[in-house]
Amino acid sequence: MKENRTTNNKGIVTNEKIMKLQKRLNENNLTRAEKHDLTEELNWEKYRADPRPSMALRKFKFMDGLIYLGDTLIFGFMGITDNTKNGIDHKGFNAAGIVMCVIIALLIALVFVYLHKHSKYKIEPMDELANRNMNKAQHAAFLCLVGIGFAFALIKGLLNATGVTTIKNNTIIDLLATTLFIYDFFANMIFVYLEGKDVSANEEEDE
């Protein structure tokens, strides 16, 4: 396999088998299931041909989760500060502004670490167990999100039963983004938990 390895004009590692798979994947007569199988096979061929050290999918998804947590904090904070009665200025030099700066600085640092790791290591592709765990994690994340929504509505209703809740137009996008990012955060973290459950990723190889 290694002797066949070469790099294309974009500097991407490839070999004859990868090129054949890519050609086959571009054919129009493939069913959805065949495309899925071929894509999986192609990802594994690329992984095998890549000379970089490997990084466990679990670690990668954990970093993904942290980035989504950072995004959730930014959009959530913006949404909360914008939607308070008189609006808290998170753009000025005040407590809210400083908190916002700290969150953004942390997220940027995290993105740099993420990109560095992404370029230094090859990431394990998804396999059938990972796909199964990710489906479970997404289902659980959706239930978490619905639970949070209900809990929030219940608390709000109990505290202020006769009041009216208004959402300012400029915070609708913050609310949507926060919902999506929190869902992705939950999905990634639950995936990490499921992957580590019962089996230690660092389990020693048999002697």
């Binding site: 466990a56 999918l57 396999d127 990972a130 019962d198 089996v199 990723a201 048999d206």
Partner: protein, 71 residues
């Protein structure tokens, strides 16, 4: 209740093969092989056949059902 058992570990050990090597040959992660060996995961037919092919045996020889007394 019948439980799915496997001889994967024995076959792998007899060929002096590491979990990572087998994982790479059949296109899955090492975690998947670990779970298969521990009986914590039932493989798809495709994966079972790929593993059997690596060891030059049949799926039935590698994976089999064993009756457990617990109901």
């Amino acid at each position: 209740m019948a439980e799915l058992k496997t001889k994967l570990k024995e076959y792998r050990a007899s060929r002096d093969m590491k979990q990572g090597d087998l994982a790479e040959l059949v296109g899955v992660r090492r975690e998947t092989i670990i779970r298969l060996e521990k009986g914590q995961y039932n493989p798809s037919l495709k994966l079972a056949m790929d593993i059997a092919k690596v060891f030059g045996t049949t799926v039935e020889e590698l994976f089999f059902y064993e009756d457990s007394d617990e109901i």
